[in-house]
C-alpha cells in the first residue's frame, strides 16, 4: 500500500484536505518566488483567489445543479459590504471571523431569493437574480448614510504579522486568499461526492425522475443556491480585503456575467474548470491589452473588447456543444474510459 | 406513386425497420398490419420525414424524399394523420382545419381549395360542424379522429398516411371512419396507406396489404388473399 492509498482509505475529506494543504504550500512558494519577478501578477493572483471561490460556487449551482444565477456579483457585494460594515465597528477583528460573518449574511440573502425562485425554476431564478444584480447598487445609493453611496466604504488593508514583516503586502494578501480558496474547494469537492452532490446532478439531468426517486427537488435546489451564494459571500469579503473598498461600481451586472464566463470557459460543471476559467477572466484583459498595443485599437474598442469576447465565448461554447458542455464532458469521459478499457484489453 | 426500398431505421441502436420494401399504387388503399412494436408507425413517420432513415430509398412520383423536411413533404402531396390524431388542442376545430397548408396546385383554382375543403369536411362529419368554434381539447375521442382525418382532406393530398385512425373508437365510429376513407379514396382518386390494429376492418376496405413484424415484411399481397390466410393471422395478428 502506498502512502497515498493509505490516506485515501481514511476517507475523501482527508485526501482532499491533504491535497489542499499541499496546494497551499506549493502555490504559496510559487507566489513568493514570482513576486521578485512581477509584483503586479501576484496582486492579480489574489483576485484569482476570490473570483475562483465565486466561480466554484456557481459551478455547483449551474454546472452541477443546472440552475442559472445572474446575480452572483450582487451576492459578492453583500459579502463585501458585510465585511466593510463589520470592520467599521470592530476594527481589528480576525479576518476569519469577518469572513464567516460575510458568509452567513450572504447565505441568508440567498435563502430569500432562492426559496422564491425554487417555486418555479428555469428562467425564474435567472430573472430574479438578474433583478438582484441590477437592483442592489441602488440600495447602497439610497441608504448612503450606511453605505456611503457611490463612494462606498473603505476596508482597512490586511497587514502581515510582525514575525513575517519581511513579506511584501501583495504576497501576504495572496497567501491569505489561498487559504479560504483551498478550504472552499476541498469542502465543495467533498460535498459533490456525497448524497447532496448526487441529488444536485440527478435534478440537473431530470427533475421529474428525481422527484419520483424521492429527491425533494425544490429543497435541494434551494440548498444548492444558498451554498453557492455562501461562496459568493466569502468571495466578496476577500474582494473587499483585496481592493480595500466596498462600492456599488465594483459589482456591476457584468461581474455576474464574468463569473458565468469563467465557468463556461472552464467547462461548466467541474471545480478545476472554475480555477482555469477564473485565471482567464482575470488575465484576459491584460492579454487583450497587449494585443491592443500591437494593433493600436482605439480606446473605446479596447475597453469593451473583453466583455464582447466573453459574449462570443458563450455563443461558441453553446453552439459547439449543443447538448451542453456537460454533455461534451460526459462524452469525453466516456471516450477516455473506452480508451482505457481498450488499453487494458491490450495489456 | 410511392416507392420504398431497403429501408432501415434504428432508434439509438434499436432496429425498428429492417430492409422494408413497399410500393404504393396511384390509387387505392394499402393496409399495413402487424403486432405492437412491429414498426408500423415508424414506417409512416419515416415517409412523412419525421424520422431519418439509416439506409434505403424513398421516392414519391420519381423524386427522392430523403432529407426533405416534413413541411415540404406535405406540400408535395403527402399528408399524415399521426397516431392519436395529433390535433392541436389549444386551437378550435375551425382553426385546426384552417392552419393546414394545402398542396400547391398548378391550376388557378388553388386559392379557394382550402376554404371549400373545410366546408366539405363539415358536411362529411356533421358532429364537427356543431363544434366548429370549440377548442379541440373539448372534443370527444371520435370527434378528434374525425378532425384529424378531416385535416388530411383539407390538405388535398394525393397520398394519405393514416396511423390507426380508429384508435380507441366505438365500433360505430370505426365503421364510419373506414367508410369515409374508402369513399374518399374512390371519389378523389387518391392513395391511402392505412396502418391499423383492427385488421379485419382494415382489410375489408383495403386493396392490398402488407404484414410487418419486428421491422421486417412478412407478407405483401392482395387484401383478400391475406384475409384468407389463417396461418398468418394466427402467427402475427393473434386471432
Amino acid at each position: 500500500m502506498t502512502v497515498l492509498e493509505r490516506i485515501q482509505s481514511r476517507g475523501t475529506l482527508l485526501t482532499h484536505g491533504l491535497l489542499g494543504v499541499l496546494f497551499i504550500v506549493a502555490v504559496g512558494v510559487v507566489i513568493w518566488l514570482l513576486d521578485s519577478v512581477n509584483g503586479f501578477i501576484v496582486y492579480q493572483l489574489s483576485s484569482v483567489t476570490y473570483i475562483a471561490i465565486a466561480a466554484a460556487g456557481l459551478t455547483v449551482l449551474t454546472g452541477q445543479n443546472g440552475q442559472l444565477s445572474l446575480g452572483h456579483g450582487a451576492l459578492m457585494a453583500i459579502g463585501a459590504y458585510t465585511t466593510a460594515l463589520v470592520l467599521k465597528t470592530f476594527t481589528d477583528l480576525n479576518p476569519a471571523i469577518v469572513m464567516v460573518a460575510s458568509i452567513l449574511v450572504t447565505a441568508v440573502a440567498s435563502i430569500v431569493v432562492g426559496a422564491a425562485a425554487a417555486r418555479l425554476r428555469g428562467p425564474y431564478l435567472a430573472g430574479a437574480t438578474l433583478g438582484l444584480a441590477v437592483g442592489l447598487p441602488g440600495v447602497a445609493i439610497r441608504f448612503s448614510s450606511v453605505f456611503h453611496g457611490d463612494q462606498g466604504l473603505t476596508v482597512p488593508a490586511l497587514s502581515s504579522p510582525d514575525a513575517l514583516s519581511d513579506v511584501p503586502a501583495e504576497v501576504w494578501l495572496a497567501w491569505v486568499g489561498l487559504i479560504p480558496a483551498a478550504v472552499t474547494f476541498v469542502l465543495l469537492a467533498n460535498l459533490l461526492k456525497t448524497r447532496y452532490g448526487r441529488d444536485f446532478r440527478a435534478i440537473r439531468e431530470d427533475e421529474v425522475a428525481s422527484a419520483l426517486h424521492g429527491i425533494r427537488v425544490s429543497r435541494t435546489q434551494v440548498i444548492a443556491f444558498v451554498l453557492s451564494g455562501a461562496c459568493a459571500g466569502l468571495a466578496g469579503s476577500l474582494m473587499a480585503y483585496t481592493s480595500n473598498l466596498a462600492a456599488p461600481g465594483s459589482f456591476p451586472l457584468t461581474l455576474s456575467l464574468q463569473l458565468l464566463a469563467a465557468i463556461v470557459i472552464g467547462g461548466l460543471g467541474t471545480l478545476p474548470g472554475a480555477v482555469w476559467g477564473s485565471l482567464v477572466i482575470v488575465f484576459a484583459p491584460d492579454w487583450i491589452g497587449t494585443l491592443n498595443d500591437a494593433m493600436k485599437l482605439p480606446s473605446n474598442v479596447r475597453d469593451e473588447l473583453p466583455l464582447a469576447l466573453f459574449g462570443v465565448v458563450f455563443i461558441v461554447a453553446m453552439l459547439a456543444f449543443p447538448y451542453g458542455i456537460q454533455g461534451g464532458l460526459r462524452r469525453l469521459i466516456a471516450w477516455r474510459a473506452g480508451r482505457r478499457r481498450a488499453a487494458a484489453a491490450q495489456a | 406513386m410511392l416507392e420504398v426500398e431497403d429501408l432501415r431505421v434504428t432508434y439509438g441502436g434499436v432496429t425498428a425497420l429492417d430492409g422494408i420494401k413497399l410500393s404504393v399504387p396511384d390509387k387505392g388503399i394499402t393496409a399495413v398490419l402487424g403486432p405492437n412494436g412491429a414498426g408500423k408507425s415508424t414506417l409512416l413517420k419515416t415517409i412523412a420525414g419525421l424520422v431519418k432513415p439509416d439506409a434505403g430509398r424513398i421516392s414519391f412520383r420519381g423524386a427522392s424524399l430523403l432529407g426533405v423536411a416534413p413541411e415540404a413533404i406535405v406540400r408535395r402531396g403527402i399528408s399524415m394523420v399521426p397516431e392519436g390524431g395529433g390535433v392541436i388542442r389549444e386551437l378550435t376545430v375551425d382553426e385546426n382545419l384552417r392552419v393546414v397548408q394545402p398542396k400547391k396546385r398548378q391550376g388557378p383554382d388553388g386559392k379557394s381549395a382550402g376554404k371549400s375543403g373545410i366546408d366539405e369536411v363539415m358536411e362529411l362529419f356533421p358532429p364537427l360542424a356543431a363544434r366548429r368554434h370549440n377548442a379541440a381539447h373539448s372534443l370527444s375521442g371520435g370527434e378528434r379522429q374525425m378532425l384529424a382525418v378531416g385535416r388530411a382532406l383539407v390538405s388535398r393530398a394525393d397520398l394519405l398516411l393514416l396511423d390507426e385512425p380508429s384508435l380507441g373508437l366505438a365500433p360505430k365510429f370505426v365503421t364510419l371512419i373506414m367508410q369515409t376513407v374508402r369513399k374518399l379514396c374512390v371519389e378523389r382518386n387518391i392513395s391511402v396507406l392505412l396502418v391499423e390494429q383492427n385488421a379485419r376492418s382494415a382489410l375489408s376496405i383495403a386493396d392490398q396489404a402488407m404484414l410487418l413484424s419486428a421491422g421486417r415484411t412478412i407478407a405483401a399481397r392482395a387484401a383478400g388473399d391475406l384475409a384468407k390466410n389463417e396461418e398468418l393471422w394466427h402467427a402475427y395478428l393473434g386471432y
Partner: protein
Amino acid sequence: MNYFIVLTLTGIAAGMIYSALALALVLIWRATRIVNFAQGAMAMTTTYIALAVIRATDNYWLGFVAALLAGLVLGAIAERFLVRWVETGPPLNAVILTLGLFLILEGVVPMIWGAQIQSFPAPFSIAATQVGDTFIALSHFNLFTIGLVLLVMLAMLVFFRFTAIGLQMRASAFAPDIARLLGVRVGRLLSLGWGIASLTGAIAGLLVAPTLLLYPSNMDSILVYGFTAAVLGGLDSPVGALVGGLAIGMALSYIGGYLGGDLESIGALVILIGILMVRPQGIFVHSAERRA
C-alpha cells in the same frame, strides 16, 4: 395635482413601456420556451441605430422606422443563426446563448457609438401638459407612449387572431411537430416570431430613451421590469403582459415617489419574489402551471 395621482399617471405611462418589453419576452417565450435575456440589449442597439438615422436625416420618424426594421431583422437573424441551434438542447444553453448576445451587443455598441450617455429626441413634448390653469402630470410624449403601446397590442391581437400567418404562428408555438405535418413552415415562422418580438422590444427602447437617456446598459433595468411584468402576467399571455406592465409601472412609481428612485430596481425584485411566492403561475394563465 395630488401627488398620488401624479405618481399613478406617470406609473401608467412607464408601465406601458414595461408592457411592450414584457410582450416581446412573452412572444418569444410562447414561440420557443426561451427567455430572451438579450431583449433589452437588442432594444438598446436598435435605439442607437435610430439615433444615427435621426442625426443623419434630421427626421425623428425615419429613425423610428429604422429602429423597428432593425429590430425585425435583428430578431430574425438571432433566431435563424443562433437560437435555432440550441432550441432542442437543454434550456440552460439557450439562456447562456442569449446572455452571449447580450454581452456582444453591450460590448459592440459602445465600440461604434461610444459609451457616454446621450440624449435622445422625443417626437412630442416631454413637459407636463397644461389644460387651462392646471398641469396634468402626463406629457404629450406620455400620451403618445400609451397610445402607441395600445396600438401595438391591438395590432398583435388582430395579427394572431385573424390572419393566416398569425394562426400558423400560434400552431407552431403550441405544437411545432404537428404544425410541420400540416405543411406549416415552422422554422420561418419562428424567425418571424423573434423578429416581431424584437420589433416590439425596439418600440420599448425608443420610448425609454427620451426620459431615461441612451447608454449601452440603459435597458438593463427595463429588462428586469419587463421580465417581472411578464411573470406577473403568466409569461404566456400577451394580455397578461399588458396588465402586468401597468401594475409594475404603478408599483414602481409609488416606490420611487415615496421611498426613493434608487429603490425602483430592488423594488421590482421584491415584487417578483412576492409573485413567485404567492401566485407563481401569474395572474393570467388559465392552463395548469407551466414549468420551464
